[in-house]
């Protein structure tokens, strides 16, 4: 246990960097997709159109009741079956993340929309604006602004969760780290390094969120 060799990190940096890029890219796309789909789910739930609301609510509750890793597996095997051709683990993972995160973003957005005073909706209605116009121009911009810190927090959690693509052999940062760890026989060094990288990124994100909250509070 005496001879730690952290040099292995240095020599593997290009490979690890590719992994990290994939993790960040996957996170970014999944956050965007999750917010878009999550917002649509929320609007459906709050639309007052019963079948639409029930389907959306059912979807959110179903997704929130299954483990993420199962969803990732599921789409890894399911998407090629549905499309009739392989889509690669990146796209199947991305679809899984978007569909999974949408349920969580939908809950966040619902709270955000409900945080906008009811009077704002009344004001829009009283000038003759329709439901979708009110959402688009009045409610959602305010809801998003109120929700940005929580949306970013959810993004940080999502970034950590991307490490689960390990199970479909997608070469994200976690996977590349463990490939290096095993091939070079430097398990301790690599996993310490990986933990450090995740910590720095997520902690920076958290500090950012805290700053935003402070600024919004004033």
């Amino acid at each position: 246990m005496t001879d730690f060799d952290f040099g292995v990190i240095w020599t593997s940096l290009p490979f690890l960097w590719e992994g990290l890029q994939l993790s960040l890219w996957l996170t970014f796309l999944a956050v965007i997709g999750g917010i878009v789909l999550g917002t649509l789910l929320t609007l459906a739930r709050l639309s007052g159109i019963l079948p639409l609301a029930l389907i959306a609510a059912g979807y959110v509750n179903l997704i929130r009741s299954v483990p993420l890793i199962l969803v990732i597996f599921w789409f890894y095997f399911l998407v090629p079956l549905v499309l009739g051709r392989p889509v690669g683990s990146f796209y199947s993972a991305l679809i899984a993340f978007v569909l999974f995160e949408a349920a969580y973003y939908s809950e966040i957005m619902r709270a955000g929309i409900q945080s906008v005073a009811k009077g704002q909706k009344f004001a829009g209605q009283s000038t003759g604006l329709g439901y979708w116009q009110i959402q688009r121009h009045i409610i959602l911009p305010q809801a998003f602004r109120n929700m940005i810190p929580i949306l970013v927090t959810q993004g940080i959690i999502l970034f950590q969760d991307t490490s689960l693509v390990f199970v479909v052999s997608l070469r994200d940062f976690m996977t590349t780290s463990s490939i290096v760890a095993r091939t070079e026989g430097r398990l301790v060094e690599m996993y310490v390094f990986a933990a450090l990288v995740y910590f720095v990124i997520c902690f920076t994100g958290s500090v950012l969120v805290k700053r935003m909250r402070d600024r919004m509070a004033t």
Binding site: F122, A123, Q125, S126, T127, G128
Partner: protein, 242 residues
């Protein structure tokens, strides 16, 4: 212009409006007053369908607000409403606040909407604030912007729901002045307010509500000079004594 016929409304088991009947004719200014919780704000929100009613009928300019299948959005576009808490859109400038519904509902061009916004901002004396956000304005200024936001839509009637209740005392008059002007120009108005001075000055009729029911509905002169019910007498003595 506005016909309220036997309107009742419940929140769960609690009846907030009890068989209310009244009307507002064209160019008439009607003040609705009464103790808090008397249902006056609820009643005025029913007039443009913001709150649904369970019984009775409300007809505005020939269109039945309470009937199924009525195009509420088209009707509401012609009914101006001013709220207790202004309800300006905080993320938009004053200009955008005034243009949104003009462009999206009335399909006016940007130029046309802006020129109308400028016209009405000038009328409420706030031209120089067109590029500000609502948060940069005082309460009185915000409420005047809110009135202008309704007026740019060329409403056939204006509803005011306690327009001065959330204001500091020194700002109440600047808002009332705008409303008095409007009344003098012949705007049809239904105003929920505690400002009895305003009522005496411009109201043609006063509706007094208590516990969800319309207790008195009489000419302004009669109401202040000779209130019939004990509850109205009691209310007036409390509100006018100091």
């Amino acid at each position: 212009m506005i016909d309220i016929e036997n309107v009742s409304k419940w929140y769960g088991d609690f009846q907030v409006l009890k068989d209310c009947t009244s009307q507002v004719t064209q160019k008439e200014v009607v003040v609705v007053c009464g103790p808090s919780g008397s249902g006056k704000s609820t009643l005025i929100k029913c007039v443009n369908g913001l709150e649904p009613v369970q019984q009775g009928r409300i007809v505005v300019d020939g269109a039945d607000i309470t009937a199924k299948g009525t195009d509420l959005t088209a009707l509401r576009a012609r009914i101006g409403m001013v709220f207790q808490h202004f309800e300006l859109y905080p993320h938009m400038t004053v200009r955008e606040n005034l243009c949104l519904a003009q462009e999206k509902v009335l399909k006016r061009s940007r130029d046309e909407a802006v020129s109308r916004a400028e016209l009405f901002l000038d009328r409420v004396g706030l031209s120089e604030h067109i590029d500000k956000h609502p948060g940069q304005l005082s309460g009185g200024q915000q409420q005047r912007v809110a009135i202008a936001r309704s007026l740019v839509m060329d409403p056939i009637v204006m509803l005011f729901d306690e327009p001065t209740s959330a204001l500091d005392p020194e700002m109440i008059n600047e808002v009332l002045d705008v409303m008095v002007e409007l009344a003098k120009e012949g705007m049809t108005m239904m105003v929920v307010t505690h400002e009895m001075g305003f009522a005496k000055k411009v109201a043609d009729r006063v509706i007094f509500m208590d516990e969800g029911a319309i207790v008195e509905d009489r000419s302004t002169e009669d109401f202040f000079g000779n209130p019939e019910s004990d509850r109205a007498k009691d209310f007036l003595s409390k509100i006018l004594n100091h």
